[in-house]
Symmetry: C2
Amino acid sequence: MKTIYLDHSATTPVDPEVVQAMLPFFTERYGNASSIHHAGRDAYDAMGAARESVASLIGASPDEIYFTGGGTESDNLAIQGYAGHPVNRKRGKHIITSKIEHHAVLHTCQFLERQRGHRVTYCGVDGNGVIDLDELAASIADDTILISVMLANNEVGTIEPLREIRRIVGDRPIAIHTDAVQALGEMDIDVNELGVDMMTLSAHKVYGPKGVGALYIRRGTRVGPIMHGGGHERRKRPGTENVPGIVGFGKACELLARDGAAVRERVARLRDRLVEGVMARVDDVVLNGHPTRRIPRNASLCFRGCEGEALLLHLDMAGICASSGSACTSQSLEPSHVLAAMGVPIEIAHGVLRLTLGKGTTEEEIDYTVDTLTSVVDKIRGISAALGV
Amino acid sequence: MKTIYLDHSATTPVDPEVVQAMLPFFTERYGNASSIHHAGRDAYDAMGAARESVASLIGASPDEIYFTGGGTESDNLAIQGYAGHPVNRKRGKHIITSKIEHHAVLHTCQFLERQRGHRVTYCGVDGNGVIDLDELAASIADDTILISVMLANNEVGTIEPLREIRRIVGDRPIAIHTDAVQALGEMDIDVNELGVDMMTLSAHKVYGPKGVGALYIRRGTRVGPIMHGGGHERRKRPGTENVPGIVGFGKACELLARDGAAVRERVARLRDRLVEGVMARVDDVVLNGHPTRRIPRNASLCFRGCEGEALLLHLDMAGICASSGSACTSQSLEPSHVLAAMGVPIEIAHGVLRLTLGKGTTEEEIDYTVDTLTSVVDKIRGISAALGV
């Protein structure tokens, strides 16, 4: 049976062009980028070119890009590294974030509260998943040092108003961090236009390899390392650099610069076809997240009277890969903290299905998915009705 | 010009069999190991097989292996994660290590001293680089919770007496961590025979990919995560798992189990040929590290009257990749902390050259290196003499 992969927010296949770019760095150009001989310098130069590709995609300078082992590490480096920096600790211990952040942000904030004496405000969101800007503005205090709000939500796809957050903050000495893991490739991103000081990026969500990410840190922003060792990545992230992974990330960013806009347009069209197709044929479905301010690939739907888990298993048996929200929490049976914050009643939230499209998704796949989903929902609702649930 | 790569302690080429094992996981079997659909389960299962290969090579159980982004992260997870665990913090704040550890251990210990209120004893070593066991035994205090001593030194190759450290510690509630990054593949390793509770491993030093490592944590050892996020790696290391990298690490360990002993024997013979060749033809050379208790691939030599930097540049011009000690500190001009701890006078330490052989190294390469090194040393010493230095 053919796999229909509609879980691109969990991870993406690596683009064949990216694999081709990476390959020489495994077996031929394998130097350690810190070595001073020619093999080392070659690796170092390749890493520099990748840094330029990543920087250029988000309007940053190459020396503001720090490579990490992935999005989670970048979030931790941004939040622990900024809040834990001795100068910032002296300035204040208040952090503002939202209730719908990825767990890499939420759990890091909770750790700082529990073990480092920080105070964290978790701002609410409206029914579309948009952060409450009034609450955010009202929660800014004299000891606020950091605001961390994601650029696009990983479960429901809503794009958050980062520019407005910058406007509210003004020139107060509060750093703004945004987790842009789900936004990269899905919208034009410019760190200066958004006015953010730190931005988390990950390669494997944009057809690059797993195990590599980056943190943009605006020049002058005080961030200390969270791991200790050699002087790699200008003393912010020790450890032998993952040269093939970094080269692959650079190539993936190049491809986004080249093809991103066209892919987005196509994916948005297919996503709309999917949502409209389901809406037309299935009753009692709601689209989660903002109706228009959302990333193109995301369709998050709640099916009343269905368990998301059951939907996933039935779709999987039909070859369709989907998710109930976030891959990082998929082993957990707790209802989504994002839907809860949006005020979605728990009995509806249990019927959530996240379909996230990619550049390889075809119209035929979408039509097959609409057909399959229609009959799967019928079947599950039929069983529930028969059982009197 | 052909490259003669004698810097395998800095990094190794990825074995073509390893690349072949990794390749499908980029483009075909690309699921997120946390996803519950078939693509996710496939990735999860592949990771499980890799975990078994890594575990089996060091006599551990698969559920004692935690994958990380590399050796530096593993060292940080072991030391920060153990010392920072609330239960261990209550038990004590004293850590014992050696003066010749990798900076990932030393700088982590210094961070804990500076910012977390820990007390660290840095034990000295003898002229061969072997830790002073009397000093170690005498420094154990009631509040000692952790001992971290490397299994083999990255600069001079000396193998440290971990079994004796276990004997000294006895059944006191002190965890023993060892950084085995340079030892893996170079000697038989069994965590139970050594009596260690945590062991750091890295893939790219053993013909696996960069950007992936592991920490062995003996069952029952309390280690908290140093990053926060999803529940990956049984809540010790969040972030989407680097499936291709992990699969590659597993394959690299399989190859070590299959070919390791034969490769070691061959490499040791070539290393001896190299050392004897140089000793026979160049005056005023000393071999650093223990004469016999050393890893097979390492030849660390000090050439009196030569700058290590000059040696490296001349060798590089002849196509030979070597190092002055550790790639992680190669950008720094400070003399080696390892040689200093061994009591090597600074004027001798400045003439250090580390040649580390690999499974691709040939007799012809060794003979060419001996010839080249002989003439390069003559040349540098001639210039120094002419300048009256």
